[in-house]
């Protein structure tokens, strides 16, 4: 039987590769524009704040030999705002890609480190460290957070991983339940701690970049760049996971091991960030969605843009948190939760009302 719909034409192939090349160019330009916005946001983050510093002052502080003014402005920029802006950027990047990993390997577009109980696991780890050592934050906080988030992840795998085929759905439910469980234990611990520590811990759990210092930045920078590199290396495997476990298996991927590695990466990022900036929710949910709206998640640019947009978003959240209230800092987590939950509801609304 003749079949007219499927007939190869070499000229169509040429037109098609042109189309593909054009898309690549588009993605490249989007990435460049985003990078520019990112640099601009950094400038704003250095300029806005309790002490108003002009753009030109910020610019000049990059070239110390030209500044004849007081070192005061330089010190604000380099000792306070710069590390803080970098931490905010890192947190945004990290949470966004952590969310992207979770959404991809669980094939759940609503996945988020917060929603899966990984953040609360990490928080519990840190709060336990504080209560049992009775001390302030120590260098052990990231380790405690990682142990906590691993605990959350292991429990999640044990509960959900029993039956391979149902992993995706039960994982989400288990995650939400675990999140409540860990929060309640955290609250119980806090209830028995002395009030002064409680205030500090509470402020920390709501999310803040105020503890940013140059010497603290190296560790999260390494963790996040290593994770992004690994994701770029495994980007094809990540895409294959979206087609389903069986399809991914038939492409030669050891699905369970791959998922485990990716979930470990995700919890490592989450733990690192929670131990430094506390619980910041919904970034991991929002940013991948926004990026996915514009470009295909499958391309290499998808991962890079998710990280960049996450960083930009967090820079602005931080700027807001420092400038909205006079002489007072709004917890970052409050702003992300407010925007995030609105975003979440909008998403649910449109998803429900979307034809087909």
């Amino acid at each position: 039987m003749p079949n007219h719909a499927i007939t190869p034409h070499s000229r169509i192939t040429a037109a098609q590769s042109e189309k593909v090349a054009k898309t690549q160019l588009n993605y490249l330009s989007i990435t460049l524009v985003t990078t520019f916005i990112c640099l601009l946001s950094f400038f704003c983050a250095l300029s806005y704040g309790a002490a108003d510093i002009s753009f030109s002052d910020v610019w000049q502080s990059f070239f110390p030999e030209q500044t004849k003014e007081t070192g005061f402005i330089d010190r604000i920029i380099w000792e306070l705002r710069m590390p803080r802006a970098i931490l905010a950027f890192l947190a945004g990047c990290g949470l966004a890609i952590s969310g992207l990993i979770l959404q991809t390997v669980t094939r759940n577009p609503l996945a988020d480190p917060y929603l899966f109980g990984i953040s609360s696991g990490a928080s519990l780890g840190v709060v336990m460290l504080i209560t049992f050592t009775g001390g302030m934050f120590t260098g052990l906080a990231p380790i405690a957070a990682f142990i906590g988030s691993l605990l959350a992840m292991v429990m999640l795998m044990l509960i959900a991983g029993r039956r391979q085929s149902q992993q995706v759905e039960s994982m989400l439910l288990a995650g939400v339940a675990l999140s409540f469980l860990f929060s309640s234990i955290t609250n119980l611990l806090l209830y028995h701690t002395d009030p002064q520590a409680v205030t500090a811990v509470l402020f920390w759990t709501l999310g803040s970049f105020s503890r940013a210092q140059w010497e603290n930045l190296l560790f999260p920078t390494i963790v996040i760049s290593v994770c992004i590199t690994i994701m770029l290396a495994y980007r094809r495997q990540l895409n294959a996971m979206l087609l389903g476990d069986e399809s991914a298996t038939t492409l030669g991927i050891n699905v369970n091991r791959f998922r485990l590695i990716m979930l470990l990466l995700s919890s490592l990022i989450t733990a690192t960030l929670v131990s430094m900036c506390g619980g910041i929710g919904f970034v991991g949910l929002m940013i991948p969605h926004i990026v996915r709206f514009f470009i295909s998640q499958g391309s290499m640019y998808g991962i890079l843009l998710t990280a960049l947009v996450g960083g930009i978003f967090m820079l602005w959240v931080d700027i807001l948190s420092r400038t909205v209230l006079e002489n007072q800092e709004l917890p970052v987590g409050v702003i992300t939760a407010a925007t995030g939950s609105l975003f979440f509801l909008t998403l649910l609304y449109f998803r429900k009302n979307r034809p087909n």
Binding site: P8, Q16, S17, T249, T250, G252, G298
Partner: protein
């Protein structure tokens, strides 16, 4: 009835004494089969007969309790998963939703078994992808979201992915169910035109009869009949395995068995002749 197939060197894929149970239920029961190079094999059977489970054993997703599956005379579980994927491609019905992968991205997944971690797609890979997309007639949709394709187009995109994988063997789990008749024929002819060995499960017996060189009928986990469509598609088999009354005749175009089903029959068996359609 089936006889134990003998492993011959000309078979691309063989299974011997394949048995698989879950939770005490026997899903596959001592299955022996051999699939020859360049042949098109159809797996038939009523719902729950074990068609998908058999395919799962063949594409290395579940490890059978007993028995061995050999590809090119090698136990598939001795092969590395990635090496097996270089030779065997699978088209399933799973599809991603809510994720913005383009048709191009989905087709490019076929490169995975052939590519190292940091390697980017080179010129010949790009050509391979473009060729496959042209072959399935999706050129105009190359940058569209996979999610927004119709069922037939999705299936074609997945076949293009399998083409990029450049396999010797293509396994398909009910590739045409939920598709319009036109697409059923289109997809089957597309697959036939690839000139590789194909094993596919079917719901539509007439389609299977028209397309396959070889048919295997499963019933309650057992391989009950196998052979050419002429040997397999008989009124007796249809009543024994599928529990329907039917009349089998020759298809006017290609002389393979063609089934007409009888409707409205009851438990008493007078020569049930009341057709409605």
């Amino acid at each position: 009835m089936s006889k134990a197939s003998h492993t011959t060197s000309k078979s691309l894929l063989t299974a011997e004494h394949l048995t698989w149970c879950t939770d005490g239920n026997v899903i596959l029961d001592d299955i022996n089969l051999a699939v020859n190079h360049q042949s098109f094999t159809g797996i038939l059977g009523p719902n729950g007969a074990g068609k998908s489970s058999l395919l799962r054993c063949l594409y290395r997703f579940v490890k059978p309790e007993q028995g061995v599956v050999r590809f090119d005379n090698q136990d598939i579980w001795q092969l590395h998963a990635n090496d097996y994927a270089k030779h065997v491609a699978v088209v399933l019905q799973e599809a991603p939703s809510h994720f913005n992968l383009t048709v191009y991205d989905v087709v490019a997944l076929g490169l995975i078994p052939h590519k190292g971690l940091f390697s980017t797609a080179n010129k010949s890979d790009e050509e391979k992808i473009a060729q496959a997309i042209t072959q399935v007639g999706l050129t105009h949709k190359v940058q569209q979201s996979f999610e927004h394709l119709s069922g037939g187009e999705k299936q074609r995109a997945l076949i293009a992915r399998a083409i990029v994988q450049s396999p010797k063997l293509l396994l398909m789990d009910e590739p045409t169910s939920h598709l319009d008749v036109r697409y059923q024929i289109q997809i089957m002819e597309l697959v036939k035109s690839l000139g590789i060995t194909v094993i596919a499960s079917f719901h539509d017996l007439n389609l299977a009869s028209a397309m396959c060189d070889n048919l295997m009928v499963l019933n309650q986990g057992k391989l009950v009949v196998q052979g050419t469509p002429q040997e397999v598609i008989t009124a007796k088999m249809l009543s024994d395995v599928f529990g329907v009354c039917a009349h089998v005749e020759q298809h006017p175009q290609h002389n393979v068995p063609h089934i007409s089903y009888y409707y409205g029959y009851k438990q008493d068996d007078t020569h049930s002749g009341d057709e409605h359609a």
